[in-house]
């Protein structure tokens, strides 16, 4: 295989963008192909603009997906559920049978075999992976956007508008004056009628920030806060059972939905915490004094490479990668 940078000397950006080795580099960078394209730019400095343009083309391309509607998704699941629930052979092996027996003992009818599965199936859990931002529609058509590594749960029968959150989510609650909407998160309850707000619980602290409307945050019967202005924040520290009100720019806490991280005098240690909690990146600083610095700005969280470059610039450091760990060495 002829592996020379000189073959690309006449390439335009469009031609580069459809070359396999170039695509491999953009999509799956490693030491070898990075070195190859770096030496190409060094040898042909006038081609740097073409390489940049080709990078933009490749990164801007995506595939349009056909998605099942929320209704379709629910119908498909019901079909799956009915097919596995009728399988008595497996039902007998299930530990859920014990729960069903208990149900019978207290006088609840469990006649049909599919009912056996009901107790274990009461809760719906929807999870996002590290770095994945996911939009979920609840049965009342409330829209919830989950940040990376977060979970939303609710009871399948949906008798009350009530959900549980781990991690971070933005809620756009469907207006319904007759039925309250409740969010439970790490010792805090949020009561709303129809509003949009952000909630984040990580490391024992829950923060609720109002976007529109009005809501109440309660840590207990006595500890309550009403949020009524955009940017009002209720912050609850579970360990110290401490609920306080603050004011923050709304954009600062909702930017994650646009794959952006907003930093405003943020301690580096907190910033690394977010990268670990939401994105699953393990970050190691070789000099711990770095962690006490504060930084401001906005970071595009489109891919790891962009992030690593941003880290290098913002922290004035050398940023390398070892396995899944990002290592930051201050210059």
């Amino acid at each position: 295989m002829n592996h020379s940078i000189h073959h690309y000397s006449n390439y335009t950006s469009q031609q580069l963008a459809t070359s396999p080795y170039f695509l491999e580099w953009v999509k799956f960078p490693d030491a070898a192909n990075t070195a190859f394209w770096q030496s190409f730019v060094t040898a042909y400095p006038d081609k740097a603009a073409e390489v940049d343009a080709a990078l933009t083309i490749v990164r801007s391309l995506y595939v349009v997906h056909e998605r099942p509607t929320p209704l379709q998704q629910r119908e498909m699941w019901d079909e799956i559920y009915n097919n596995i629930g009728n399988n008595k052979l497996y039902a007998r092996k299930s530990p859920l049978v014990y729960m069903a027996r208990a149900a019978v003992a207290v006088g609840v009818i469990a006649a049909a075999s599919w009912l056996i599965f009901r107790p274990g199936n009461k809760e719906v859990n929807i999870t996002s992976n590290f770095g994945e931002i996911k939009t979920v529609y609840l049965p009342d058509s409330t829209e919830v956007t989950l940040n990376g590594h977060s979970v939303i749960s609710y009871r399948k029968e949906w008798a009350n508008r009530e959900v549980w959150i781990e991690g971070e989510a933005f809620f756009n609650v469907k207006k319904n004056v007759d039925q309250q909407f409740d969010v439970h998160s790490n010792g805090v309850d949020v009561h709303v009628l129809g509003t949009s707000f952000n909630i984040r619980n990580r490391r024992g602290v829950t923060a609720v920030v109002l976007n529109t409307g009005k809501l109440m945050v309660a840590a207990s019967a006595e500890k309550k806060l009403i949020l009524s202005q955009p940017g009002d924040m209720a912050r609850y520290d579970r360990e110290h059972n401490n609920l306080v009100q603050k004011k923050v720019p709304v954009s600062k806490v909702t930017g994650w939905q646009q794959h952006k991280l907003q930093l405003d005098q943020t301690p580096v240690a907190d910033f690394f915490g977010v990268l670990e909690d939401d994105w699953g990146y393990q970050i190691q600083a070789t000099d711990s004094s770095l962690l006490n610095k504060t930084i401001s700005g906005e970071i595009e969280m489109t891919d790891k490479e962009v992030l690593m470059n941003a880290l290098a610039v913002i922290l004035d450091a050398k940023v390398t990668q070892q396995g899944s760990t990002i290592i930051v060495t201050p210059n």
């Binding site: 459809t18 990164r59 391309l61 349009v64 699941w77 596995i84 199936n121």
Partner: protein, 191 residues
């Protein structure tokens, strides 16, 4: 360790809610992949359902060698092809499933007319490729599968997938136009 691992453990231990959580996580992706082979929504829905039903049926004897999401993708593709084949048999057509996908471009990165022209060019070029070539390009560059996984998924030799990608991109080069000079065999083509 991972949340995904605990879901699969839960399924092995017959927890239906683990299956539901896995379904919620993957149904859109599988459905989207299936719709690239056929416009028949109901057939794709059936394939998604069968994938999870059979996963449940064989949960005690599951052997997942190379990643859970890949396992689901492969199982789904097999179910889909079986359904497509049985439909073809009943309707007396022998058409092979054709893989098509539509390209979009992020308007924040490339704007206006350049974007429209480029998108049209890529789309037209993709139509000229074979179904297999399109599927490999999609799996490799948009889904990030390794060539080994693609070969496994499509029942091909790994070398075959490399060759098909190379040929596909060679064809793309011709269709994108503008390049002069000799085509270098295998990987290094003028785009």
């Amino acid at each position: 360790m991972s949340g995904e691992q605990s879901l699969w453990d839960g399924i092995r231990e017959s927890h239906v809610n683990s299956l539901e959580a896995l379904y919620l996580q993957y149904n859109e992706e599988l459905y989207g992949y299936g719709r690239k082979f056929t416009s028949d929504m109901h057939l794709v829905e059936d394939a998604v359902q069968e994938t999870f039903i059979s996963l449940w049926k064989y949960r005690q004897s599951l052997q997942v060698k190379s990643g859970y999401s890949f396992y689901l993708l492969k199982s789904f593709r097999n179910h889909l092809f079986r359904l497509l084949k049985s439909r073809a048999n009943t309707t007396y057509t022998d058409e092979q499933p054709e893989f098509h996908f539509e390209i979009g471009m992020d308007t924040r990165l490339i704007a206006g007319e350049e974007q429209t022209i480029l998108k049209k060019k890529v789309q037209e070029a993709l139509i000229q490729l074979t179904s297999k070539q399109r599927e490999i390009i999609y799996l490799r560059f948009f889904e990030g599968l390794s060539f080994e996984e693609i070969a496994d998924l499509m029942n091909m030799q790994v070398r075959g997938t490399y060759k098909l990608t190379a040929r596909a991109l060679a064809a793309l080069k011709e269709l994108m136009g503008g390049a002069t000079g000799t085509i270098l065999l295998l990987t290094f083509l003028r785009g």
